[in-house]
Symmetry: C2
């Protein structure tokens, strides 16, 4: 299946931005060049941009080692991202014909897509179509998501850096709260991303240490959220401490399936994939507590900050993101298609994990949730097992390259986000 004469590679980024997604891009680029491919194209805004004929020659933008280092430290998708789901092959063959025509015109041998569940769906459909039509283009997925919810992999690049930022920020919020004294106490609710999977919210527990009590409660979206028990717990906590800090997932739901953010009657918003966009879980709970308990409250949404905070990236995460980019390119070069690179952890301490490639059909559209036994019985904290899992992923730092006191990123690409 390997071409003797190597032609070109194209790489794209898709889904929500992370601090590590560009490190994977750098890994793909480096390995493609090392393995002798002529050109490495970048899709602008993913497969959606590609269909509109938008792509660049990456060599014009990553010109030297410093550019590569800056790229590794640049948050969000350098090439631009998209949230576009391909139709089913039999429903709209034209879309696939169009994409393959563009790929053939560009003399593409390997197509690498960096993204999460929805992006792996794209890899699956394109590789299926290639088989149907006898195309020899190889399609390989490179995992990326702060949500850490991809199936079959131990974890996903992007998660470690977000977890490190969350642990660090929650620790700072706790210390801030401790320093104040409020007449009726204060409850700070920190709202963390993760619609269905509590990997990010659980990372709030990283704040706990010899110098910090950690959050007083953590609520993951995997378990039903009991509003009354929550209020009672906060009331009890306020009897013994002046400042209470609670971490909640944006996606917590009551037993009857209602998002807590909807209890206040807020508007819904559904994205292209049918996911509900949520806001205001922390705000709702904070308002509820102040009316029920008379305490001061704060609603703190980590929002975009938690997925873009490359100034606080994990070294393990950034290096692993680079590694999976290279591994995806290597797999495609060696003939794999319809595959995604995954991590298999062989040891927690010392931490060791290897990359493997797995069939993307077993991955796409399947969410990996936090195991029930990694949450305590009451459902309001993670267990030490969770910490053992996440701790290795946040180790080490990637010192930002500071210019004039602010972290430098690779130059804003003029080709994206313009009308």
């Amino acid at each position: 299946m390997q071409n003797l004469k190597k032609r070109n590679v194209i790489v794209g980024q898709s889904g929500g931005p992370t601090s590590a997604i560009n490190s994977s891009l750098a890994g793909v680029f480096r390995t493609a060049k090392e393995r002798g491919y002529a050109k490495v194209y970048g899709m602008i805004h993913g497969v959606q941009g590609l269909m509109a004929g938008k792509y660049i020659d990456l060599s014009e933008h990553i010109q030297n080692g410093l550019d590569e280092e800056l790229l590794k430290r640049t948050p969000a998708a350098y090439l631009g991202s998209c949230r576009y789901k391909l139709p089913k092959i039999h429903e709209n063959m034209e879309t696939f014909k169009k994409i393959f025509q563009i790929l053939d015109d560009l003399e593409i041998d390997c197509f690498i897509y960096i993204g999460g569940n929805d992006s792996m769906d794209t890899i699956q459909k394109l590789s299926d179509y290639a088989i149907l039509t006898g195309s020899e283009i190889r399609f390989v997925g490179c995992p990326k998501t702060i949500d850490n919810d991809l199936a079959l992999t131990d974890h996903t690049p992007g998660y470690g850096s977000a977890a490190k930022y969350i642990g660090t920020s929650v620790k700072e919020v706790i210390r801030d709260g401790i320093s104040m004294e409020m007449p009726h106490g204060m409850v700070s609710i920190v709202e963390i991303m993760g619609r269905n999977a509590g990997w990010l919210t659980g990372a709030a527990a990283l704040a706990k240490g010899e110098d910090c009590p950690g959050p007083d409660a953590i609520y993951l979206p995997e378990l039903p959220f009991d509003v009354d028990k929550f209020v009672a717990k906060c009331e009890d906590l306020l009897k013994v401490k002046n400042s209470v800090v609670v971490a909640v997932s944006e996606g917590i739901k009551t037993a009857d399936g209602k998002y807590v953010s909807e209890l206040g009657g807020g508007a819904d918003y559904v994205d292209a994939f049918g996911h509900k966009q949520l806001t205001g879980t922390a705000r709702y709970l904070a308002d509820l507590l102040s009316s029920k308990l008379g305490c001061k409250t704060r609603a703190i949404e980590l929002s975009t900050l938690q997925r873009a905070a490359s100034h606080c990236a994990s070294r393990v995460d950034i290096l692993e993101a680079y590694e999976v980019g290279g591994a995806a390119m290597k797999a495609a070069d060696e003939g794999d298609t319809g595959k995604m690179v995954v991590f298999v952890r062989t040891s927690d301490d010392p931490y060791q994990a290897n990359t493997e490639v797995k069939d993307v059909h077993k991955i796409a559209n399947d969410e990996r949730l936090v195991p029930r036994e990694w949450v305590n019985e009451e459902g309001d904290d993670v267990t030490p097992r969770f910490i053992t899992y996440v701790r290795p992923l946040i180790q080490g730092d990637v010192a930002p390259i500071m210019v004039d006191g602010i972290p430098r990123h690779l130059a804003k690409p003029g080709f994206i986000n313009m009308l």
Copy 2:
């Protein structure tokens, strides 16, 4: 006025926490020890805790050089803070008698208070009372506030680190926005602290550089906010770019004096000093834009994070905070009372600033605002003069001391925030 035999020092922290307030505490402690004082007491939760007899011997908590380094990297008031305003002397002489009795019992020569406007009011009243009663205790203020709104000083410790965090985070939010493509565009509104003074909000402009376009508009609280012009500006911006990022102060008001956060009909909350507590300026504007323009919006409140993010502290700020702590102690030791340490800047580039002591009567309760000429004519951006001012204050980093992947702080003092 100097005692030949030196007795003890007491130091307290007051007002809103910052990333640098503990560095000043470390500076006071170090200089007091070097100048031969027997004990350095710390008030627990400021003068309010002191009145309840709450204080510690700081030597028991800062035992070595590593403790001091950790203290410099620990956000929020290590000793606990308070928001307590002393009565006027003639209104309640008993309060002052009580405080001075405690100070006399502790054999205090020097009283150092680290804080903002309200804390300088405390220094003023206590030093006035000392004069009235012939007490020889010296009272000196050490400036601290992320708001940077103290009179007579070029800037205040705490501001530089908050400004660095704001510039860094806004830059990351901009990059995140650029990477996405939204059908009808997206406007992200970043809400920044500062009731009346726009120093922090203006720091969003630090995001701008060769690699980043910077925020598209910046609205300080010093100028009236025109809602219609704001909507029109966003509409125009969305015609030429897909992602718009706007920085707003929490305290922006319309021409008739109404807080924007009140336009949505939210509840008011007034703190002990009669300040209105504001939330929801960004949320209100985001909801307004999505209804008027049909674009996607994001409301991002930097909230507590911006004043507690010691992981992203400015080296200039942390070192200057240490310096003013030492200078306050030195001034008190040398006989000054009723004074505050201030910075006098002698050069922007290379940056040079010296400490001086000024009469606290000229400082207390007087807010320093951003000069009108440091904002552009349209009132929606800061000028290069503003950047020249703030740039030196965010230079350099204070590498966190990382333990298990998370910044280490000085051990949580068991004596604060307990009931």
